[in-house]
């Protein structure tokens, strides 16, 4: 068992290299890279200055300088190894767009994503598990049907669409919640309690949108798993021993039902760090999702690679963690 997880952990570096190498290579081939942009910018500014249209203003020399600046002067393997060497030393390079170290960009935004991701994760699991249990026990009652209708309505509406609706009605018209941002403008002047309230106030609407994405899936998974297990022979055995229905559910059926949810946890961790670009965009939250997608639009490749480093590491360790959880819950699972 310990050897298995040791091997799984040892497999993380090669997988990581595979993922990053692939994306690194792609950034070299995709048109519209930083070099082309620089040339374009140079041309338009020259045109504005009324320069000669026919002659290319960027000389071979300048082009070589630019290539060297963006690290495009070396072949992919060499450039990749150099990049990887810097990553190991915690240097993710400098963002072309912000002219700031990518590491700083990420450390600024990661807490935002961690807060939202952590609360979302706690919220979805904290609500979906009890709700699934309640629905399984009250199967086909008014409560079950009503919550099912609500859940499937939520399932059908994408998080960003719901976000737009919520902003229009609850933020713009009713003014119950702020329209956007992670914290208010006067955040630094507030007391600690005031900061918490301000943060929570800003978080309500985005959190609803985050949570709704996996809400239906997790609740119905929990409900169906529990119903399967409630009908299982071993639950009947437990009741025949004299345990109450409640004990039979909590002690005998529940733990068996949590196994598939543990499997899902690893994948949930990516939301934790990656966030959701569209939701961050709508609510103007400066999280990792927004950084990642905008870096792609701007061909800010050091930032793209930086976000990739963080999210792939989280996903890879997340999968190992969720395997460990499964082994913890289910004694039949023994890895060799």
């Amino acid at each position: 068992m310990r050897d298995y997880f040791l091997r799984r952990l040892l497999l993380i570096p090669p997988t990581f290299i595979g993922v990053t190498l692939l994306v690194f290579a792609i950034t070299r081939f995709v048109p519209g890279g930083p070099l082309e942009r620089a040339i374009m910018e140079a041309r338009t500014s020259e045109t504005r200055r009324g320069g000669d249209m026919g002659r290319s203003s960027t000389s071979e020399e300048q082009l070589a300088d630019l290539k060297a600046y963006y690290g495009l002067d070396k072949p992919i393997p060499v450039a990749y190894v150099q990049w990887l060497g810097k990553v190991v030393r915690c240097d993710l390079g400098t963002s072309h767009r912000f002219n700031e170290p990518v590491r700083d960009l990420i450390t600024q935004r990661l807490p935002v994503s961690l807060v939202y991701g952590g609360i979302t994760l706690a919220l979805t699991y904290g609500v979906c598990i009890p709700l699934g249990i309640a629905k399984a026990i009250r199967h086909r009652t008014g409560f079950d049907n009503a919550t099912s209708a609500l859940i499937f309505f939520g399932y059908a509406v994408p998080g960003y669409a719901l976000g737009a609706i919520l902003i229009v009605f609850l933020a713009a018209r009713a003014e119950w919640f702020p329209m956007s941002g992670f914290v208010g403008e006067n955040f630094s002047d507030l007391s600690i309690w005031g900061k918490v309230v301000d943060l929570a106030h800003h978080a309500v609407l985005p959190l609803v949108c985050y949570a709704i994405t996996s809400f239906a899936f997790l609740t119905m998974l929990m409900k169906n798993q529990l119903m399967d297990n409630l009908a299982a022979d071993f639950v009947r055995t437990a009741v025949a021993k004299g345990v109450s229905f409640k004990t039979a559910v909590l002690r005998h059926a529940l733990r068996n039902s949590l196994i598939p949810l543990a499997t899902h946890l690893g994948a949930s961790l990516t939301v934790f760090v990656g966030g959701s670009y569209l939701i961050e965009f709508i609510f103007d939250i400066n999280g990792m999702g927004l950084l990642g997608v905008q870096s792609i639009f701007d061909r800010d490749y050091p930032s793209v690679m930086g976000v990739l480093v963080v999210s792939s590491l989280v996903l890879l360790t997340g999968n190992v963690i969720s395997d460990m959880l499964i082994a913890l819950i289910d004694p039949r699972v023994r890895f060799k």
């Binding site: 071993f234 055995t237 004694p331």
Partner: protein, 336 residues
């Protein structure tokens, strides 16, 4: 009171709500189980024998299953009217139950020791260490080698026969007055079957409990039982002491069952005797006698009137209009 039966079922009617409407699975069944004796209930799949057992334990699947009428007098108390809390005391404490499928009857995520100790914690002691000690003792009792090691193991680490021993240990843990065994050997290899039956007989001799044994195997009945109830289509066809049933079967269905046992003395590779036809589905049972469509003795009266229970001999009862002809026919075929 020494002669009073430990269990007396009177006119039990159990029904299930299905999509096609209410279906009566057990229709007016009455029998007695005497102290220290073994009662066998035999019949084909779907004849209501398991539903009878689940009714006694009040373990009918909810909310579909319901006891519509009748009394289940256990030690003088009517279990059909007992509250859920009273049933917690009865189940596992006063009535133990052994299930058919040892592979699924135990909870896969808890150790054998924990599942067995649970019975003691529910009915005997509040001390966990004491409960575990009792569990080890009980495992030794049912013939599990090195019980100190086995208590820490999970069900998947045990063979089917060993698991059934654990299930038996759980059923007998609190020295119940009655053990209901629902096809306890059906899922086991023949050699293991004999071991399990031996074990049950040995434990019965030691602990003096009554056994209600549900099976479709007349061989098991002959070996284990003092009294027999033959069920067909949710009703009792014939009941009486095991000798009377085997020597003087008075219901055509009982005769059919006995005739269909392969015999070692008979001609090899000859066709086995079978009962022609199929058991009608519960929802379209014919009026009159339920065995009429498969019965060689059936006459018009059998298609109209439900046969009353008649006495063949003291303690030997049969529900057949033509049992005298059946007995006479048997005598004729025996002499010819």
């Amino acid at each position: 009171m020494a002669d009073a039966p430990i269990l007396e079922v009177r006119n039990l009617v159990t029904a299930f709500d299905t999509d096609a409407g209410q279906v009566i699975a057990v229709d007016g069944v009455s029998f007695q189980c005497h102290r220290g004796r073994t009662l066998g209930i035999v019949g084909e799949s779907g004849c209501g024998k398991s539903v009878t057992a689940l009714s006694i334990m009040r373990l009918l699947p909810q909310p579909m299953g319901r006891i519509l009428g009748g009394e289940i007098l256990f030690d003088g108390r009517d279990l059909a009217q007992a509250t859920p809390e009273q049933m917690y005391q009865v189940r596992g404490g006063k009535i133990g139950m052994i299930f058919q499928e040892p592979m699924t009857a135990l909870n896969p995520v808890h150790t054998i020791g924990r599942q067995l100790a649970e019975v003691f914690l529910l009915h005997k002691t509040r001390d966990r260490a004491e409960a575990l000690r009792l569990a080890i003792e009980m495992l030794k009792h049912v013939g599990i080698p090195s019980p100190e090691v086995r208590v820490g193991e999970y069900p998947h680490q045990l063979s089917g026969g060993m698991r059934q021993r654990v299930v038996i240990a759980m059923a007998l843990a609190c020295r119940p007055q009655l053990v209901i065994a629902d096809e306890p050997t059906t899922a086991l290899d023949v050699t293991i079957q004999a071991q399990i039956l031996d074990l049950m007989q040995q434990l019965q001799a030691e602990l003096g409990m009554s056994i209600m044994l549900i099976t479709h195997d007349l061989g098991v009945i002959a070996e284990m039982c003092d009294d027999v109830v033959v069920m067909y289509g949710g009703r009792i066809a014939e009941s009486g002491p095991v000798e009377a049933i085997f020597e003087n079967p008075s219901h055509p269905y009982t005769r059919g069952l006995l005739d269909s046992i392969p015999r070692l003395g008979g001609q090899r590779k000859s066709r086995l005797r079978i009962i022609d036809g199929m058991v009608p589905a519960l929802k379209d049972m014919p009026p009159g006698c339920r065995f009429q469509n498969r019965c060689p003795f059936a006459v018009d009266r059998c298609r109209k009137d439900q046969p009353a229970i008649e006495q063949v001999a003291p303690g030997h009862a049969v529900a057949c209009h033509r049992w005298r002809e059946v007995v006479a026919g048997a005598a004729v075929s025996a002499t010819s």
